[in-house]
């Protein structure tokens, strides 16, 4: 009996940056054999690094503060790029778990021929490049389905495969803006330039949606024998996640902006400063019962009896004053302490966790969320783990992120059965193989 849900499913991936690799990671977690096809001739930016061999200013050396060229996205193990920086990059290594890597030069006919043979023994081809990249390489759906009629081909450029903006070279940051989300997540009363940070939900959303799309197509193929092309526009996967806000426009012509940390219907809700440096807790009161719980937790100070705060309507109206009064209380406590005090009273509340908090958090630890992984060039670390638990096919990090070209032998010799002579010749001519960018 297969011990993993996607055992026996082979996915060939040319995925880069964040959204693509996240989706193929979910497939690899489920047990699919995900083979990354990479190239020692071409370095896709923000994947195995920003540059193959970054200048020192792109390897931040300070541990505590992440400011600088691009913050936490540029972290190498121990802040050392090393001889092969592309194997030591956190952004890559966190999402390439459970995948394999081989190198093929797809711009050369012989490389393309090897790639064709790989597609012929695979179930899915998965990519998130700009549309013209695959087209220029001659890797259209028509070409691939000619080689393998039931291939499932998922393409997920930022804005999809058709339409006037299809070639827009955007990242999660731009897709967040185009989809409308950036204007929905600002500080009320402040202009959009305050909406800073390096957190873009579209990548997570599109990646997960892509994994779902592939699974639907696999199910359909098992039933009908048919493969197909899937056109996933990342913003189109995102807009449904903001559905009610768009419905408010289509039903009522209301153009919603941001509520910041508040809730449009219930109060108080917000993010309050706690004891310590840059420490915060969120509190979210959704009913009179929870409001009473909050009052009890704070020791029922006299201001809580103010009749303006007696109803949800009043609390919504006077939330500015209410927030100040609540913060006077939270400031005297640790952020975790506030959570425990309030949860005991049945009030939704929790610390705003930085990375230290997360690694030490009792809940994540108790569920074994972090997994210890030994990587040949990065060493031993605890990695963020699985996004769900399955009772009969438990998932885990079965292997670390692959080093560049780590599975050349397996793919070319074992899987495709290239002869010794072919291997040697193609490797010598740099058509296949290799483990370093040239």
């Amino acid at each position: 009996m297969a011990t993993l849900p996607l055992e026996g499913v082979r996915v060939v991936a040319i995925s880069l940056v964040l959204a693509g690799p996240f989706g193929s990671m979910l497939l690899a977690d489920l047990g699919a054999e995900v083979i990354r096809v990479e190239s020692i001739h071409h370095f896709p930016s923000i994947t195995r690094g920003y540059m193959p061999r970054p200048p020192q200013f792109m390897v931040p050396t300070t541990g505590e503060k992440s400011g600088g060229f691009s913050g936490g996205l540029q972290t190498y193990v121990d802040h050392e790029a090393g001889e092969r920086p592309w194997n030591r990059f956190a952004l890559f290594n966190v999402q390439a778990r459970n995948k394999l890597s081989c190198c093929i030069d797809l711009t050369r006919p012989e490389g393309k021929d090897v790639f064709r043979r790989l597609i012929q023994v695979s179930d899915v081809f998965y990519e998130n490049n700009s549309p013209q990249v695959m087209d220029n390489l001659g890797l259209s759906y028509e070409a691939l389905s000619g080689w393998k009629p039931d291939i499932i081909y998922l393409r997920m450029p930022g804005l999809g495969l058709t339409g006037p903006y299809r070639d827009f070279p955007g990242f999660g940051a731009q897709l967040d803006a185009i989809s409308g989300h950036t204007l929905l997540r600002g500080y009320p009363g402040r202009d959009a330039t305050y909406t800073t940070g390096e957190v873009y939900h579209c990548d997570a959303c599109a990646g997960a949606t892509a994994a779902f799309a592939v699974l639907c197509a696999l199910h359909f193929r098992r039933r009908t024998g048919k493969g197909q092309l899937i056109d996933l526009s990342q913003i189109e996967s995102f807009i449904p996640q903001l559905g009610e806000i768009f419905m408010d426009y289509t039903m009522n012509r209301r153009i919603e902006t941001s509520f910041g940390n508040r809730d449009p219907f219930t109060a108080p809700q917000g993010c309050y400063r706690c004891r310590g440096e840059d420490r915060w807790v969120v509190i979210s009161v959704t009913s009179d019962k929870e409001w009473e719980g909050l009052c009890r937790a704070m020791g029922n100070p006299s201001w809580t009896k103010d009749e303006r705060f007696a109803t949800n309507q009043g609390r919504l109206k006077y939330q500015d004053e209410l927030d100040e009064l609540i913060e006077q209380w939270t400031l005297r406590h640790d952020h975790y302490e506030v959570m425990y005090i309030l949860q005991r009273e049945g009030v939704p509340a929790g610390p705003v966790m930085d990375q230290r908090d997360a690694y030490h958090d009792p809940q994540l630890r108790s569920r074994g969320f972090f997994e210890e992984v030994a990587h040949p060039e990065a060493g031993i670390h605890f990695y963020p783990g699985m996004l769900w638990k399955m009772s009969k096919t438990p998932l885990s990090i079965r292997r670390p992120a692959p080093c560049l070209g780590q599975h050349n032998e397996y793919v070319f010799r074992e899987l495709l059965g290239l002869s010794e002579e072919e291997m040697v010749r193609l490797e010598k001519e740099l058509v296949i193989g290799g483990d370093a960018y040239i």
């Binding site: 964040l18 959204a19 426009y249 009772s391």
Partner: protein
């Protein structure tokens, strides 16, 4: 046209957002989803806005209408004996059951996974909760903002002089629903192959902590180098070590978001008409930063969002407008692709909804029916189980349906 999941049957016990979005994804790609609501009020999302005409009404909630397309709806009181026995009959004939009650609720109703497995060994049961079915926070209460604060990357979202900031709407719960749909499909494929179902335990906190909105990268960044992310200064001040624009900037009629790769610097110079300008050839040489910024900001206010987007498309630069909701609905690219679709609903009428999250060429997304009215398919679904009109009248009287 046949859909990807046309042969899949789902029993949907979900409410609010995360669970319903999971089953919406299944229903929109063809699964027969029967949504079970408790009488008399149904899914609490029916009482959450926005409402058509701002009039609170159980059939006019935009949230509920969006989240429940393509599902059939029945009412059933699972706390009654008759309700429990009907529920068991329903469980026999489905592939998937999804629920997002607080942990322990299903067990108390007598529907623990172990019990359900006895009724239907092939059943996939997906349980979504704030913190998962185990652990010290299992019974803690949470809402959207609490889930993001604890699981996600709220700490570094926003400006350093202000509070950490939540994301828009309810995206954390929607994302949990999306992840739930992925895991459910994985389990379904295995169940169809092996003839054995299983139980999936989804913690919304973990869907955030393992998520690619950067949280997973920043967590590993801490393990790799002790990096704790901070909130960024506003106004482009974060780019202190280079001339490369990055972040949100004001333009003539709104705001634009720019992000540049080092190798794109020549494209930027071309965009601004500064090719060959010796002061700015090296983007990390900030000697003439003030002069560069003066040119950059005046260029921005000379152009509208639309003009800037057009120029960025031509010059292949990652710069884009901050669109309003209205601009998105009327966007010509989305219109070209037919993204928003009109769906007719008996109470709300014809309204545009967000459409397919992806286009499958052989087994497409379809809007076959609007969200169900409360109990709309009682006769149809219970009729299939053999209940007569008379039985249904009695069950209604007894408060079962």
């Amino acid at each position: 046209m046949e859909q990807a999941l046309s042969d899949v049957k789902v029993l949907d016990l979900t409410w609010y957002i995360a669970g319903p979005y999971c089953t919406k994804m299944l229903a929109d790609y063809g699964a027969d989803v029967v949504k079970v609501e408790r009488p008399p009020e149904g899914d609490p999302a029916r009482s959450i806005g926005p409402f058509l005409g701002d009039e609170p009404h159980p059939e006019k909630s935009g949230l509920f209408l969006h989240l429940n397309t393509n599902k059939r709806g029945i009412t059933l009181n699972l706390k009654t004996d008759a309700g429990k026995s009907i529920f068991k009959e329903l469980v026999k004939n489905v592939d998937i059951l999804v629920e997002n009650f607080s942990p322990g609720v299903m067990d108390r109703l007598g529907f623990s996974y172990e019990e359900l497995e006895k009724i239907n060994p092939k059943l996939v049961v997906t349980s979504i909760s704030n913190f998962g079915r185990t652990g010290p926070y299992r019974d803690f209460r949470a809402t959207e903002i609490v889930e993001f604060a604890m699981g996600g990357e709220m700490y570094s979202t926003g400006s350093p002089e202000l509070t950490p900031l939540k994301l828009g709407g309810n995206v954390v719960q929607y994302q949990a629903g999306t992840i739930a749909a992925v895991s459910t499909m994985g389990a379904l494929l295995w169940s169809r192959q092996q003839g054995v179902g299983q139980h999936i335990d989804i913690s919304i906190m973990e869907t955030q902590a393992g998520g690619a909105d950067r949280r997973n990268i920043y967590l590993l960044g801490y393990a790799y180098g002790g990096v704790v992310t901070q909130r960024w200064p506003s106004g482009g001040a974060a780019a202190v070590r280079s001339l490369l624009p990055r972040g949100i900037y004001p333009c003539q009629d709104g705001f634009v978001m720019f992000l540049g790769l080092p190798q794109w610097w020549p494209r930027f110079l071309k965009l601004l008409g500064l090719e060959g300008e010796p002061r700015f050839q090296n983007f990390i040489d900030t000697t003439h930063e003030d002069e560069f910024r003066a040119i950059w900001f005046s260029w921005l206010v000379d152009h509208t969002k639309e003009e800037i987007f057009k120029l960025c498309l031509e010059n292949r630069i990652a710069g884009a407008p901050l669109n309003t909701v209205e601009e998105v609905v009327n966007d010509r690219h989305l219109e070209y692709r037919g993204f928003f679709v009109e769906i007719e609903h008996p109470v709300v009428g014809r309204v545009k909804y967000p459409g397919a999250p992806f286009k499958m060429m052989e087994s497409p997304w379809q809007a076959k029916r609007p969200a169900p009215l409360l109990g709309q398919h009682n006769e149809e679904v219970y009729g299939q189980l053999g209940y007569t009109q008379k039985d249904l009248a009695r069950l209604k009287e007894e408060g079962v349906i």
